[in-house]
């Protein structure tokens, strides 16, 4: 009886996504907005403050694939050339689309019609952590909680690559996990998808340049969807996956 009462007390907790209004707190650091017109010639303050060399100057560019979404650049720039918004929509289909130069970003487009027919209503994914620190893993995991309930969109994380339509890789791909990542990818039947979640998987993140990491998913594993972040917020993950499946345009 107490259990039943507690169940009623807990109520309905699932967010209304994507239809509803998803409001993240003002301090949430989502998509940065660049205004190169505010840059001074020769100024490299933001680029020098960036932990992952994600920023290039003249002209100002910011690579979301390497960005850790820390406040270092925006707090260093006194001119407001880089500011953070709380826009959680960050996913892209190509590496080039992750490089920002202004206030716009080309978000992920849907799969082609043939693939949508196969994956559109049921997408099973196998997660592989290849040096991930457990933050990306944790926020992928919570997409399965009652709050985000990824299952209602037909998406599910499964236990075997043989049951999967694709992999979601996290981490900078350590030397010791490169083989396991490749074998897991190889074990998924064609056609298959690869999703890179987090700065490490996309570019190596803070571990870019380590001789014991590949600097992200190696080139022989083609990536279909990039989810930037350190780690990506669960809502950003949902948004990216639903864009890939053509549920959000």
């Amino acid at each position: 009886m107490r259990r039943l009462w507690e169940r009623l007390r807990q109520g309905y907790r699932t967010i209304d996504f994507p239809e509803g209004h998803t409001d993240l707190p003002p301090r949430f650091r989502g998509r940065p907005v660049l205004d190169p017109s505010r840059c001074h010639a020769g100024c490299r303050l933001c680029a020098d403050a960036c932990p992952t060399a994600a920023i290039k100057t003249e002209p100002l560019r910011l690579d979301l694939g390497a960005c850790l979404f820390c406040p270092a650049c925006s707090e260093t720039c006194g001119e407001g050339a880089i500011t953070s918004t709380n826009d959680f929509r960050l996913a892209a289909r190509t590496r080039r689309d992750l490089v920002l130069s202004g206030s716009e970003m080309r978000l992920a487009s849907a799969l082609d019609r043939k693939l949508l027919k196969i994956f559109g209503r049921s997408l099973k994914l196998r997660q592989v952590s290849a040096g991930g620190c457990n933050a990306c893993e944790a926020d992928l995991n919570v997409t399965g909680t009652v709050v985000f309930d990824i299952g209602r969109f037909g998406i599910q994380f499964v236990a075997s690559p043989r049951h999967a339509d694709g992999i979601v890789a996290t981490g900078p791909v350590t030397t010791n996990m490169a083989l396991a990542l490749r074998e897991t990818y190889a074990a998924v039947a064609e056609p298959k998808l690869v999703i890179a979640s987090g700065a490490c998987a996309i570019s190596g993140g803070p571990f870019a340049g380590s001789p014991l990491c590949a600097g992200g998913i190696p080139a022989d594993i083609p990536v279909d969807l990039y989810l930037p972040g350190c780690p990506p917020h669960p809502v950003s993950i949902l948004d990216g996956l639903l864009r890939l499946l053509g549920r959000i345009e």
């Binding site: 107490r2 952590s129 457990n134 933050a135 030397t175 010791n176 396991a180």
Partner: protein, 511 residues
Amino acid sequence: MNSDASTASTMTPPLRTARNGEALSLADVPLMTMDNFRRAVLNACSAEVRLAALTVLPGLEAGRILLAVLADDRRRLLGLLCAAVPLDNRYPALTPDLVQAQGFEREILEEHGILPEGHPWPKPLRRHSDLEGGSHAPRGPDPYPFFRVEGPGIHEVAVGPVHAGIIEPGHFRFQCHGETVLHPEIQLGYQHRGAEALLLRSQPARRLAIAETIAGDTSVGHALAYSMALEALAGAAPPRQAEVLRGIALELERLANHVGDLGALCNDVGYLPGASWFGRLRGEFLNLSLEICGSRFGRGLVIPGGVRFDLPSAVRDSFLVRLNAADVDLLHIADVVFQTPAVVSRFEGTGVVTAALAETLGLVGVAARASGCDRDVRRDHPVGIFRQTSIEPAAASSGGVMARAQIRRREAEFSIAFVREQVAALPDGARSVALAGARPHALAVVLVEGWRGEIVHVAATDDMGRLVTYKVVDPSFHNWLGLAMAMRGGQISDFPLCNKSFNLSYAGHDL
């Protein structure tokens, strides 16, 4: 607490005592002969003193030195012992007489090429010579000689490195007789990113990012230890507001992880209402961190010198309302879960680690307290806000899954009360101080009670004040062997439950 060597009769002299977060001049740490070093470490560790770290530093002159950091929790002291590494790069291993040293000595062999002679099991700790293409030559015919049980009816079950859930990789070998697990060996290192070496050769902004990602679920704990180490080397103290916010962030991290683990434990015994409720509640604590600093994992908050963000008085009321609602939820959910017979019967008696074994292995944190080892850095070696807070560490003694679950529940309750109190009395003023350069030839040792247990960072500088050593000990480093021992005599089906009750970090161990 006293940092004067002459009064440190509680630990065998000549050893330099220090307080947590204090920087010493390397010249002040007496250099002992290897024989005396070994004897001093063993003597101290036979009397309620633990080995918190054992690592190698460059010496003041030529050669390298072996540094032992001893934690005397009862007398609230840290002891530092140094010995010159012999020219032939060999020394008599501590491990045969001090099991706590086993991982440290394997690391010393692997990373520094110094052989602890007589180590019973000098196999690789993190490196996989077969995967690394021979850059780390195997020491023996088999690159990784697994512990094996042989005999009629014995079979072996291999699991990993890729596991069934969304978790980090590691490889387990279960030696089984029928349904009974005789021993599971846990082979790690798949996550080895070279974090310590990379940190040393990175610029400061990158170093902080590396510290935050040593173990992603302990971003605050490791960022705090890193920041404290830099502050110690620079002789700076963070402002009062920063100390309070650091404490709040550390406890929010503890809350999110403990509550999440309680949910995961429910999931592993098939009690899905508990899994759903706790899983949702975990997010409430992450979202409180998000409110403060824009990151669910507390990233970007702690910086060397202080903190980046405050908690404006305008949002404190709503923050406390959310915290109180989470408190009520925790109370109700935990009451239901811990009174559900299906949960209780599965938790009780599973995965027991006795107090004596926990002491021998040098377990820390939740796992140690669940086995009756009364240790908590927040009380025993307090820094920052914990100096002004009275901490009564959660205690249990049965040493199994139930004890580890109950410790989490009690610590979560304490943390909520702590955060509530600190938010209500949050001081104003500066958020951070600028750090001067680090002192030359200095050594800083920092301990932080992360949510899993004791985090140790050891930093040393050269004659120019540049970092030359950065050693990180995640609590998982001590506790993985505890998980393996907890499984002895259990069944493979106990493993997910035992594993979750420890919930150790692969990345934190593998760095």
